[in-house]
């Protein structure tokens, strides 16, 4: 069966509702709309990013496109096949790589994991073992291929996930937060492998929480918030959403919630985000005022110990925060 299309993925008005229930004896059913009629296309050979906060609908979208969930309404075609009707045809041609510790058989070796999934994908026996060796080589696991997966480090498990997702030589690969929980070196290795896949003309749909990762890897990015796509553009196109502002970045200790609230109340401030790294806090303030707003910031944060304060060019993360806030 062939169903070619000029797009790798075409999504039109895709919607998914879930039924949830509250209570134990008196159950009350509720309907939650996780994806609210989204539409987008992905070109062949493109690395398309889907970014958004937790619960925005990224994973639900991926699950519908990989045929694990049926849509409530709307249509989507993957490699020209309909996601509701042509389930087996799609499954044969796609690869799935989810992030996280789980998703592998820990008590058997990495090679046995790959062999089992090769069998489930119907990889011809004449090619199977050669393909597994090539994949193990590609992800740098050849020397540990026959060790049990439970003895692998987190980074090795993720590399095995990537090999598993490629065992059927897919045309299109879905990756759901593939670098989540990895140390910086392992995350960098994973990103390098994703780039290699695109160089080999694979199409990739990637979800991630890390904006620098999306900026580095993706050709185009769809920003999804509350079940809707609120922006879709190239990374540089998305950055134009914040071209009218500067970012004041403050590194400090002792900033309290009321300080953040005070900053947010200022009319000159567009968004404020705060990260804690050890005891050091980093606060990013988006404002069109630029460096002339620094004295007011210093005044508001007078109760905290400020190590550094400076203006920076807005990044993709600033654009993202602006779009989802």
């Amino acid at each position: 069966m062939t169903a070619r299309s000029d797009k790798a993925i075409t999504v039109s008005e895709l919607r998914r509702r879930y039924q949830t229930s509250k209570g134990i004896l008196r159950k009350k059913k509720e309907t939650v709309e996780a994806v609210k009629g989204i539409s987008f296309d992905v070109e062949f050979g493109e690395l398309f990013g889907l970014v958004g906060p937790n619960g925005a609908g990224k994973t639900t979208t991926i699950k519908m496109l990989t045929t694990l969930l049926t849509p409530t309404s709307g249509t989507a075609r993957v490699l020209g096949f309909d996601i509701a009707r042509d389930v087996v045809e799609i499954r044969r041609r796609i690869g799935i790589i989810f992030g996280g510790e789980r998703g592998l058989y820990y008590r058997v070796s990495g090679r046995e994991n790959l062999r089992y999934f090769a069998d489930l994908y119907g990889v011809p026996l004449a090619k199977r073992d050669k393909r597994i060796n090539e994949l193990l080589d590609m992800v740098g696991l050849s020397d540990r291929a026959d060790s049990k997966v439970e003895s692998y480090s987190r980074g090795m498990k993720q590399r095995l996930h990537i090999a598993k997702g490629l065992v059927n030589d897919p045309e299109l690969i879905f990756m759901d937060e593939p670098t989540i929980g990895l140390d910086p070196q392992a995350a960098r290795d994973t990103r390098a492998m994703i780039k290699q896949l695109v160089e080999k003309e694979k199409t990739v749909l990637l979800t991630t929480h890390y904006m620098f990762e999306a900026d580095e890897l993706c050709h185009r990015i769809g920003v999804i918030s509350n079940g809707e796509i609120v922006a879709l553009d190239t990374p540089s196109g998305l950055k134009r959403f914040v071209k009218d502002i500067s970012v004041i970045e403050v590194e400090a200790f002792g900033i309290v919630d009321s300080d953040i609230a005070s900053l947010r109340q200022r009319p000159e401030v567009k968004t404020v985000s705060s990260n804690l790294d050890g005891e050091r806090q980093t606060v990013r303030i988006q404002t069109p005022k630029g460096s002339e707003f620094i004295p007011q910031v210093t005044k508001i944060l007078s109760g905290a110990k400020i190590f550094d304060i400076r203006t920076k060019e807005p990044t993709l993360e600033d654009a993202y925060l602006r779009l989802v806030s």
Binding site: L68, T70, R102, L104
Partner: protein
């Protein structure tokens, strides 16, 4: 080829996991050993082949226990490992995956029968003589297939349920009793006979007893009727299993309940 590859791959993977877990000794050696010891004490004053009920009963206990727990935990195991979505996302039909796993579990049940045979022969000095080994082997293989098919039927329910362990615990002993593995079904109340006769293993174990003991009268239908009943019930189980899996696979995609446990 793809279906066979799925079946064999799942069969093999299930065996690898079985031997990777040292706890397999408990349900496969220790539990049937205890059952056999109890059976030998119960039947010691009964005329006829004492070993027959002990070995076949213990063996059946092992085969059914393995099939039931294997099929029950086949999907729970994937839920725990987080592999269920990856398995479901392959083009293989789930029913072939479960059939492979169920078959492997039924075959592993043979270990029990061999262990029990060793116990009764060495420990109790009772020799099991099989009157017709070929007919015995045919009945044994068909019974294994029938058990696997029954495992597939139950597994479709486990796909929808988050409580596979509760269901497997509840189903273990009723099947031993109803299939006549422990004692003849004639001893059971009449109202339970339709259930017993609807179970392939009931007919399978009866056929095996015919092949073992030429004086055995059992259900009274003879070896070949027993064997036909095993075959027909197996086909019915497989048909029900395939249909239930189609329904269950659609339902988990519609309801998004796949990874809940």
């Amino acid at each position: 080829m793809t279906r066979l590859q799925t079946f064999w791959g799942s069969f093999r993977m299930s065996l690898l996991h079985f031997f990777a877990d040292p706890q397999w000794i408990i349900p496969n050696i220790i539990a049937p050993f205890i059952f056999t010891a109890v059976a030998l004490v119960l039947f010691r004053n009964v005329s006829g082949s004492v070993a027959l009920y002990a070995v076949l009963g213990g063996g059946m206990m092992g085969m059914w226990g393995n099939t039931l727990y294997g099929s029950g935990f086949a999907l729970a195991f994937d839920r725990w490992n987080g592999t269920i979505e990856y398995v479901l996302a392959t083009p293989s039909r789930l029913v072939w995956i479960i059939a492979g796993r169920s078959a492997s579990n039924a075959v592993l049940g043979l270990i029990n029968a061999l262990a029990i045979l060793a116990v009764v022969t060495v420990g109790y000095g009772v020799l099991l003589e099989v009157a017709n080994p070929i007919l015995f082997l045919v009945a044994l293989i068909l019974t294994l297939v029938s058990l696997s098919a029954l495992g597939v039927v139950f597994c479709s329910a486990f796909l929808l349920s988050r409580s596979a362990s509760v269901m497997t615990n509840g189903l273990e002993f009723p099947i031993y009793v109803a299939s006549g593995s422990m004692f003849p079904i004639a001893l059971l109340p009449f109202w339970s006979h339709p259930l017993s006769l609807s179970l392939g293993p009931t007919w399978g174990i009866d056929a095996m007893r015919y092949a073992t003991d030429s004086a055995y009268t059992g259900l009274g239908f003879g070896y070949w009727i027993d064997l036909s009943a095993v075959l027909v019930s197996t086909i019915v189980y497989l048909a029900i299993g395939f249909w239930l899996f189609m329904v269950a696979e659609k339902k988990v995609r519609d309801d998004a309940t796949l990874v809940e446990y």
